[in-house]
């Protein structure tokens, strides 16, 4: 099993990781090796086996719908790299350029 550089670059964008050419080169080799290794699961016949996403029997967990204290806006914003009194501040969401 081997991944192409193009695939790795595409996954980098999906994962929101800026990758240098050197990163793409090393990740292409490493991920190919790891994906090759995990592909040994293919030898198992799992037809008819239900996927198990979670070790506990899945069920809804309900709680009374009551008002309880939560983080204040100031607490929620305390570690933000940039913020004003009530919002997180980020660079422009649209367009290729634009200032934060």
């Amino acid at each position: 099993m081997s991944l192409s550089r193009q695939e790795v670059a595409k996954v980098g964008l999906l994962a929101r990781l800026a990758l240098s050419d050197a990163d793409v080169t090393s990740l292409t080799g490493e991920l190919s090796k790891i994906v090759g290794f995990v592909s040994q699961l293919e030898e198992l016949d799992t037809a008819g086996i239900e996927p198990l996403a979670h070790p506990l029997d899945s069920h809804n967990v309900f709680r009374p719908d009551v008002v309880a204290p939560c983080l204040t806006p100031a607490e929620a914003l305390q570690s933000a790299p940039r913020h004003d009194d009530e919002c997180f501040l980020v660079p422009a969401v649209l367009g290729e350029t634009g200032a934060a």
Binding site: E30, I34, V35, A80, A92
Partner: protein, 499 residues
């Protein structure tokens, strides 16, 4: 007796009686930390002032005749993956350097309510991804038994801090062996409770269907003491179990007569270090001498544990770690926008994450993103979930015939720093005996069962069904009443063992 030589159970009893003060106890461990942390790098943050203030408060309350919590005066090291509102929480990542969470993890809150004294935050593999602690952005932890060797990981700082008497107990987290493997490599006792037994609220999420917090200490009794405090339902973690928490300390000394322990022949296949194999087999003999019986069992899908785990854990991680976006908290790139991305916002995300995460974290995010991406989801993620069910079913079948399953916790004793860093896949294989416990959501414990000729600890692992913590702690305590491996200490000051 000097506090460093006392068990956690004896320490809290001595503080309660007034034989020693919480301040003198805390000072003794802080002194050891001051002497040794520069060499071992077990702690990322030490809260000397806060710990002493808390200890003084406990002493004052005792003097005034006020009630004290069950861990009053007990120094505890907490893995830096658990949120602490008064101390930085970094997960050993540049991404969270200096981050101060707005609240305490539930386990931390419980420790504080029980009057434990948190002495600091322990080093770990970045975001708990690794088996050697070499993935910490703040430098590797060194194994106190031989400082040229790794302590294991990811809770390597917690394991080393207990082994080095920098705290009598520590808190770790275990997603695929991260409590048990470092406990084994550092010669201490570490328990991974059943999934849901301990609240995960405020534990920085790695793989949410696998993560579990547990105690690391020098004995089963000390783990039992801490587990009684940290286990139990938390309305803030919808996956935490509502089952009542047993009095683990009360059942420790139950005789093992009639206990059936499974032995898996495949655990002793090629790749297991002969000295480890010998130590593990001798441990089975100790259990038999203590009244247990040993039976061969099979876990036919156990050999698929690593490939299953290294799909499921990275998939969950790629989703969990999406939260580190440079916008809400954590590192944000200061590079001016250079273009080439869909928008300045996307560029900020990509650069912040590229700068903040280390190589192993990036590798797992990439692997998980790939395995979840269009066209691959069924072949990888869904396939792994099906195999996960087979692995769990193996345990359910085996536990119809035996009460616990014993075996090695890792294939070799502590390996040298740098020995496996060049090969990610070789590092993944260090978890081969531990990942299936997490995939099945059951409980496991590891503890020392001997030493190599070179003086390195050998770990033994017991796995038990869901909510078998009392049984695991009982069996381990009885083992420790017949042996003294858990009482051995590395030579101080800690140094390299000549090759």
């Amino acid at each position: 007796m000097h506090p460093l030589q006392m068990s956690a159970v004896d320490l809290v009893a001595a503080v309660r009686r007034g034989d020693i003060t919480a301040v003198s106890c805390t000072e003794a461990f802080l002194e050891r930390i001051a002497q040794s942390n520069e060499g071992l790098n077990a702690f990322l943050a030490v809260d000397r002032e806060g710990a002493l203030a808390r200890a003084a408060d406990i002493d004052a309350r005792r003097k005034a005749g006020q009630p004290l919590g069950p861990l009053a005066g007990l120094p505890v090291g907490v893995k830096d993956a658990l949120c602490t509102a008064d101390l930085p929480t970094t997960c050993a990542s540049k991404m969270l350097a200096g981050y101060r969470p707005p609240y305490d993890a539930e386990v931390v809150a419980r420790l504080r309510r029980a009057d434990a004294v948190i002495v600091g935050k322990t080093n770990m593999d970045e975001f708990a991804m690794g088996g050697s602690n070499e993935n910490s952005a703040f430098g590797p932890v060194r194994n106190p038994w031989d400082t040229a060797r790794a302590p294991g990981g990811s809770s390597g700082g917690s394991a080393a801090c207990v082994a080095a008497d920098m705290a009598p107990v520590a808190i770790g987290s275990d997603t695929g062996g991260s409590i048990r493997q470092p406990a084994g490599l550092c010669g201490i006792t570490g328990l991974k409770p059943t999934y849901g037994r301990v609240s995960r609220r405020g534990l920085v999420a790695f793989a949410s269907s696998l993560d579990q917090i547990g105690p690391m200490a020098r004995s089963a009794a000390d783990c039992a003491l801490v587990l009684e405090t940290i286990a139990g339902h938390d309305p803030g973690d919808s996956t935490s179990l509502a089952d009542a928490v047993p009095k683990y300390l009360e059942s420790l000394e139950k005789p093992l007569t009639g206990l059936r322990i499974g032995r898996v022949a495949a655990h002793f296949a090629e790749g297991l270090d002969p000295e480890v194999a010998r130590g593990v087999d001798e441990a089975f003999a100790v259990f038999e001498a203590a009244g247990a019986t040993v039976h061969e069992v099979e876990l036919p899908h156990a050999r698929y544990g690593i490939p299953t785990y290294y799909l499921i854990a990275p998939c969950e991680a790629s989703s969990n770690l999406a939260r580190y976006d440079g916008a809400h908290y954590g590192h944000r790139s200061t590079q001016p926008p250079g273009g080439g991305f869909e928008s300045p916002l996307i560029e900020m995300y990509c650069r912040s994450r590229a700068e903040g995460f280390g190589p192993e974290v990036k590798r797992r995010i990439m692997l998980g993103t790939y395995a979840l991406s269009a066209g691959y989801y069924d072949a990888y993620y869904a396939k792994a979930l099906r195999v996960r069910r087979l692995i769990r079913q193996d345990y359910l079948d085996a536990f119809r015939h035996v009460d616990l399953i014993g075996g090695p916790v890792s294939a070799t004793p502590a390996f040298r720093l740098g020995e496996k860093t060049g090969d990610p896949l070789a590092m993944y294989l260090v978890d081969m005996y531990t990942v299936s416990t997490n995939l099945a959501g059951i409980a496991g414990i590891s503890f020392p069962c001997g030493f190599t000729k070179g003086g390195l600890p050998i770990g033994f692992q017991l796995q038990g069904p869901a909510l078998s913590e009392a049984r695991l702690l009982n069996a381990t305590d009885r083992f420790q009443s017949h042996t003294d491996w858990h009482r051995r200490r590395p030579a101080f000051p800690f140094a390299e063992t000549p090759a």
